[in-house]
């Protein structure tokens, strides 16, 4: 049975194909269209999935959209009516936006893919999140919690799931919190207030929080109160996201927290103003964590289950995830590699397979590598055409050479196998570097990633060595599998892991098992043999404002535009000609052709 899952039209659209109960491909549209956060209908991603599986659209048994468009429209219209007459500016935009395309998903899918409308199905947004979290996790019975900004109406839901090997699957939702009361919207409002992009830069707020103190927790608690039944409710006097698309916080919010940050002014943490912004971030982070922990603790007491599956964009908050593990009572927490809306594509397809069609449960491969693959020989061809140094090496020689490069302080663009699904680079499209000094961190920020100095870089460590360098609690290795948890770097190692240790002594570590990415694991071992520390800095292979690279040609063009020293794809290693050669040649080229 071939089932295609699609998520689109909010942010980060994606497609995923499930064949006979197992995903064979999942990819975000942005990785193919090269437009970051591409929310358009994921036609390229659909084509990629079908091509990878070698099937035609007419062979699809179902195409599942990740939410119910009319239910979402119901929310948008109802909110506009409730905000009457303040919503008069937002109303025409919202209606044109929804009625122009978004509510006609059955027709759009049928016409774009050439499948009959009866084959087009719809899951609920949080059902898709729940399925993506539970059905991809190696657990057979778990509590499920999903939280994001908003789906159709739901912003947070709790429930449980059970699956029997080769038997039936059940996913239940017990209860939910509905829009406009939303933890995701609360966090996004602070994201906007702090001058970052909503739905994109929430992780910057988390990074900034480590530089602040939660001195404004009382003020944040004025925005979000707890209800007697253990849920929460926002005080809407402080928000405007439910009445207008232009600003998410109100004047009362500004009275409470002070003037918002100008997005074009860098945050200077040495100034009182910069510290105020960091304190805001720390305070909303603390309140988010406290709220999640209390809800999860109640869910644990109610279900008595050991495992929790977390889904939705809020599950990208690694600091909150680590606190949930420590304080909620659950022994293991599973966060999929793509807990956000992109991951709903895979969730919707799996939900349809297991629940709608009632197909028997199957264990799934426990990795994030579901996208297109790279070809080392193609990279060698490109590099040679441009006169760069390309070497095609045997496996062991390549590992040794790259380990030597890293020891020598080179920065390596690393492309291997299939592309990751989800926002994290987990070892197949990564920039790797030595993790030991702040100079390396600053160099990466200054010369390659061009990003704010307060944002940390993540380490990757083999599973066998993780406990030596990082204080990972029981169950933490699972969270760290897909970089979903933030844990302390052991104090003794902090001076030697400066580039990956955040200001508060933590790191968003990836713990790598050999089976998940054998070549990167071998590289870590080889690097460890040379330096005594088998840890590398691992950051996503992209430049600021661009999606993570997909094909070798995109890695190559990124390599040429920044100061990555070495590029690897498959068995090919490429070095740039020295800058002393490249610059005059570029000038000569300009003169010649002009």
């Amino acid at each position: 049975m071939n089932i295609l899952g699609i998520s689109a039209h909010y942010h980060d659209s994606a497609a995923a194909l499930v064949v006979d109960g197992v995903p064979v491909c999942a990819v975000q549209e942005e990785r193919l269209s090269r437009h970051k956060g591409d929310a358009t209908f994921p036609l390229l991603a659909v084509d990629s999935c079908l091509e990878q599986a070698g099937i035609e659209p007419e062979e699809l048994d179902a195409v599942v959209f990740y939410e119910r468009p009319m239910l979402k429209f119901d929310r948008i219209l109802t909110c506009a009516l409730r905000a009457f007459p303040q919503s008069w500016r937002a109303f025409p935009k919202a209606m044109k936006n929804s009625l122009g395309e978004k509510v006609w998903m059955r027709g759009i899918i049928a016409s774009q893919l050439g499948v009959p409308g009866r084959k087009v199905l719809f899951t609920e947004h949080h059902q898709s999140h729940a399925a993506a979290a539970f059905l991809t996790a190696p657990t057979h019975r778990a509590a499920i919690m999903t939280a994001d900004a908003v789906g159709e109406w739901v912003t947070l839901s709790v429930g449980d799931g059970e699956r029997v090997q080769n038997g039936p699957t059940r996913i239940r939702s017990f209860r939910e919190i509905r829009f406009p009361h939303s933890l995701g919207m609360l966090y996004s409002t602070f994201t906007a207030y702090l001058g970052f992009k909503v739905n994109e830069d929430e992780y910057k707020v988390m990074g900034l929080a480590a530089y602040g103190r939660p001195t404004l927790v009382d003020q944040v608690r004025k925005l979000i109160g707890r209800t007697p039944d253990g849920a929460f409710a926002l005080d809407l006097n402080y928000f405007e996201f439910h009445t207008t698309a232009e600003r998410s916080y109100s004047s009362r919010f500004v009275e409470l927290f002070g003037p918002p940050r100008n997005p074009y002014e860098p945050i200077d943490l040495e100034t009182a103003e910069g510290q105020r912004f960091a304190d805001c971030a720390a305070s909303v982070q603390r309140v988010l964590e406290d709220t999640l922990v209390e809800i999860a603790r109640a869910l644990h007491q109610e279900t008595g289950l050991e495992d929790l599956c977390l889904g939705g964009g809020v599950a990208l908050n690694g600091v909150a995830n680590a606190r949930l593990l420590a304080e909620s009572g659950f022994e293991r927490i599973f966060v999929p590699p793509a807990p956000g809306d992109a991951g709903c594509a895979i969730g919707a397809a799996l939900y349809c397979d297991r629940i709608h069609f009632g197909n028997p449960d199957r264990d799934l491969p426990d990795h994030p590598f579901w996208g297109p693959s790279v070809d080392g020989s193609e990279l060698a061809r490109l590099a040679r055409e441009d006169g760069h140094f390309a070497m095609e090496l045997e496996e062991r020689a390549l590992i040794d050479q790259i380990a030597n490069d890293l020891v020598a302080g080179h920065i390596v663009g690393w492309m291997e196998g299939a592309l990751e699904f989800g926002p994290r680079a987990l070892g197949h499209r990564s920039i790797l570097a030595a993790p030991h000094t702040t100079e390396m961190r600053d160099r990466l920020n200054r010369e390659i990633k061009y990003r704010e100095a307060f944002r940390p870089f993540a380490p990757v460590v083999p599973s066998g060595a993780a406990a030596l360098y990082f204080d990972i609690p029981p169950g933490g290795e699972r969270l760290a599998r897909f970089m979903s948890g933030v844990f302390s770097v052991r104090p003794a190692w902090r001076p030697r892991l400066e580039a990956v240790t955040h200001i508060d002594g933590t790191a968003r570590v990836q713990v790598l098992e050999p089976a998940m990415a054998p070549r990167l694991h071998a590289l870590l071992e080889a690097y460890g043999e040379r330096t005594g520390i088998p840890v590398l800095l691992n950051t996503s292979f992209n430049l600021a404002g661009e999606p993570i690279v997909n094909r070798e040609v995109e890695g190559y063009s990124t390599f040429l535009r920044c100061k990555i020293d070495v590029l690897v794809a498959g068995g090919t290693r490429v070095l740039k000609r020295t800058s002393a050669t490249v610059k005059p040649e570029a000038d000569k080229l300009k003169e010649e052709v002009a």
Partner: protein, 239 residues
Amino acid sequence: MLAPVHRWIWSDTDRRIQKLLRFGETETDGGRDILRAAEVTSDPLLRRLYLEHALDEFRHGVLFRRRAAALLKVSHSHLDSGFHGDWLAPGGHGLDDLQVDGESDSDMLAFLHLSEKAAASRFTVYRDVMQHDLLTRAIFEEILHDETFHMGYTLTQLARVEPERHKRHLWRARLSRLWKAYLRLASGLAGIMGSFLLTIQYFFLLAPFAWLAKRAARRECSGWTPVSPGRSDSLDRQY
């Protein structure tokens, strides 16, 4: 002829900031599209040239943004209250409507040549009316220097790639730009008309429904909402 209008537009600091920010976004987005062209072309020389071109565009974007930020700092503009760059350039790609992946090298070169030429003529006007702001003027001056190279190489390469038919490609690109301009104008007008009609409906038709919706909202309890079993069993429904 439009110099006085441009002089008036650029004389106001807030408008200047907004325009510079929008230009910054446009240059950066254009750079991304040209970078994409570098990634999809099979011609090694074009790949190198597109890459240089893309780097120039990214640098222009940075120049515009930095200047806008500097002006924003000294102007203490009210823009910084809840101000986001997003709505200044909504979905603004420098080479809007151009599907880089589907274009041939010759079509891409013809399009680039014309858009660089148009940009150069606009920037010349902006530079000339910028007597009162020498730092911004210097940015336009620097960018114009690059645009000259971009215009030159795109034409030279078009003649190399399509020696026989390069003029035809240029004409086709001109017509395509004209058609796209018409489409933009038409969709802009349709958007305005749509907004107008929806706003009228909003005030004249929705008021009673708004009253009902508000009354229903008052009855809603905050907190948990129980989920009834089987609520979403059917995947056929869109609601």
